[in-house]
């Protein structure tokens, strides 16, 4: 025998198992031990009773849940009226889960939008401040350079200028001294020459007078 559960076959009930008899083999004691078969059938009977009870309680549970789902939906927004079944209910549950997921993604995206937008604004502010600062520094540097250039024209203040200037000064002093010495020399020389000329003139004049007197004496010696 088989314990098949197909719809088109006769279902085995615990009573069937209770009532079943097996033909005893003709050769007396050969075949199944009857007591063991009886024991097994008692077990099958217990099992079938348990299954039947479980089935009834599961069916009641299904009915209870079905009623709860339908009444729950009727209290809902009503879009799914009239065609409520397990599939539609599943669709609804999945749709809600999807909407929740969509909301999480949208929230994360909105947050990231806020963060990047704020970062962009902050960056622009920092850049603007830095540019203004750079402008200020540049302006200050330019005005300082301008002042320095003007100051150089009036009185050079640079280190190298100072060196150049003292070198020039020394050279100038040398030239001035040299000029003075040279002028003194030249003046002394010139004065010396003038003195010599005057002396030469004086000597010349004396010599001419002497020569004239000598010549007169030689021409007229008796007049002495």
């Amino acid at each position: 025998m088989t314990l098949a559960w197909q719809q088109d076959q006769k279902r085995v009930t615990p009573d069937d198992v209770q009532a079943v008899t097996f033909p005893v083999t003709r050769l007396g004691r050969r075949g199944y031990d009857e007591e063991h078969v009886r024991e097994f059938l008692r077990e099958v009977e217990r099992e079938l009773v348990t299954l039947a009870n479980e089935k009834i309680s599961l069916w009641n549970e299904v009915e209870r849940l079905r009623k709860r789902i339908i009444s729950g939906m009727k209290q809902g927004d009503g879009v799914l009226f009239g065609r409520e079944d397990a599939h539609v209910h599943a669709v609804r549950i999945l749709s809600n889960a999807q909407l929740t997921a969509d909301r999480y993604v949208a929230d994360a995206q909105a947050y990231s939008h806020k963060l990047t937008a704020e970062a962009r604004t902050r960056r622009d502010e920092i850049l603007l401040a830095a540019q203004q600062h750079a402008d200020m520094v540049l302006e200050e540097a330019q005005s300082r350079a301008r002042q320095a250039a003007l100051a150089t024209l009036d009185a050079p203040a640079g280190q190298s200028l100072e060196t150049d200037r003292s070198a020039l000064k020394a050279e100038l002093a040398y030239l001035r001294t040299f000029g003075e010495v040279y002028r003194t020399h030249l003046r002394a020389y010139t004065e010396g020459m003038l003195r010599s000329i005057a002396e030469w003139e004086r000597n010349e004049a004396g010599a001419i007078a002497q020569a004239t007197a000598d010549a007169r004496n030689q021409i007229d010696p008796g007049r002495h």
């Binding site: 539609v88 669709v91 609804r92 997921a101 969509d102 540019q131």
Partner: protein
């Protein structure tokens, strides 16, 4: 299929708003849990796309010629998301269940048949396009980051190598998915003309709160892997034209125009290219040194930096269209514009007003395609 009955049915269903796509995706994921993994964690944008696409399909359902290109694009697009033929049946089942659910008492077998026919037409066109596309290239390219160079605090240039080699036209874009943001794809223009070594440059600007741009601009390290979709886009060089070229780039809109400029430099007789590179502040002109170097080496290239809102800059100050139109007469030029949508629209309008024929103004048009 009765198109007006279908539209009538859709208009009633769509009144339920976000509930409709919410139900659809939950139904799909319960019946086919393995499909969930093809979608991002947050489904909000996804649901909006679904309703948008359904709306467009229903509006044009009786004009298959108009709808064809849209559906083909959609089908090709879905390859990189990992969609396979089996998924189309699953989606069809859940779509029908969703429509029936929201139609309530107004659902009839005839309306059901209308929707079934419409979906068969849509999925057929998408699958055919996807299948035809398989012969042309892979669903996506695996890419490895070779370098990421921070050009400004919010701009990063990524260089990647793909496997296999990715062929494209200068000016085109690809969708990028970072492993840090699975299932989120965003379009980025390739910033170079095709190179011998097959490497690609991308100019990534950090968008406040942008899910993918943050990952790409700050989260990538050398050796990280990305996935790239197939190249798309119509902002490409008109090689039949011999006219001079005006380019106007706003921020990272420079990327496609730089690629096109590199393509021009390989022409036998390059036309004159006048490139305006515009940013809000001077430090937004992130790629100016490389452009100026290029201009110094190529007599046919003029680069004009424009800063729209910087108190320190005097050159080229003011609203971009003013600067461009003040600089010259562009009515005889081909124009290539890329950058923020608003900038491109204003610039385009000004050029048309200045006599540039509209068909000579090249801009990118992604349609709905942003996934």
């Amino acid at each position: 299929m009765d198109a007006s009955r279908l539209r009538d049915s859709f208009s009633k269903i769509v009144m339920h708003g976000d509930e409709v796509p919410l139900f659809f995706y939950s139904d799909l994921f319960i019946k086919h849990p393995e499909v969930r993994d093809l979608f991002p964690i947050s489904m909000k944008a996804q649901r909006e796309h679904l309703i948008g696409a359904l709306g467009q399909i229903v509006a044009q359902v009786d004009r298959v010629d108009d709808l064809g290109a849209f559906l083909q694009g959609l089908g090709r697009d879905h390859r990189k998301f990992g969609a396979i033929a089996a998924h189309y049946d699953a989606v069809g089942d859940s779509l029908l269940a969703t429509l029936e659910h929201f139609a309530g008492d107004t659902w009839t077998p005839e309306i059901g048949a209308d929707w079934t026919d419409a979906y068969r037409m849509v999925s057929g066109a998408m699958m055919a396009a996807a299948q035809a596309d398989e012969a042309l290239g892979p669903a996506f390219w695996q890419a490895t980051v070779i370098s990421c160079e921070r050009k400004a605090f919010d701009i990063c240039v990524l260089q990647v190598r793909t496997e296999p080699r990715l062929d494209f036209l200068p000016g085109q874009s690809v969708a990028i998915e970072s492993a840090h943001r699975p299932r989120l794809w965003r379009y980025y223009s390739i910033a170079n003309a095709p190179r011998q070594d097959g490497t690609l440059d991308f100019h990534v600007r950090l968008i406040d709160g942008g899910a993918v741009s943050i990952a790409l601009a700050y989260g990538q390290a050398v050796g990280d892997s990305l996935r790239l979709g197939p190249p798309v886009g119509v902002l490409t060089l008109d090689t039949t034209s011999r006219r001079d070229i005006l380019m106007v780039a706003g921020s990272t809109g420079l990327a496609p125009l730089k690629a096109i400029t590199q393509q021009v430099s390989e022409l036998a007789e390059p036309p004159h290219v006048h490139l305006f590179f515009c940013a809000k502040a001077a430090d937004g002109l992130y790629d100016l040194p490389s452009l100026e170097k290029m201009a110094a080496e190529n007599h046919w290239l003029t680069v004009v930096p424009v800063v729209t809102a910087d108190r320190r800059s005097d050159g080229g100050k003011g609203i971009l269209p003013d600067v461009v139109t003040r600089t010259g007469n562009w009515s005889g030029h081909d124009a290539y514009l890329a950058g923020p949508t608003e900038m491109v629209r204003e610039m385009s309008a000004r050029l048309v007003a200045g006599g540039t024929p509209r068909e000579r103004i090249h801009v990118e048009d992604f349609g709905w395609s942003e996934p």
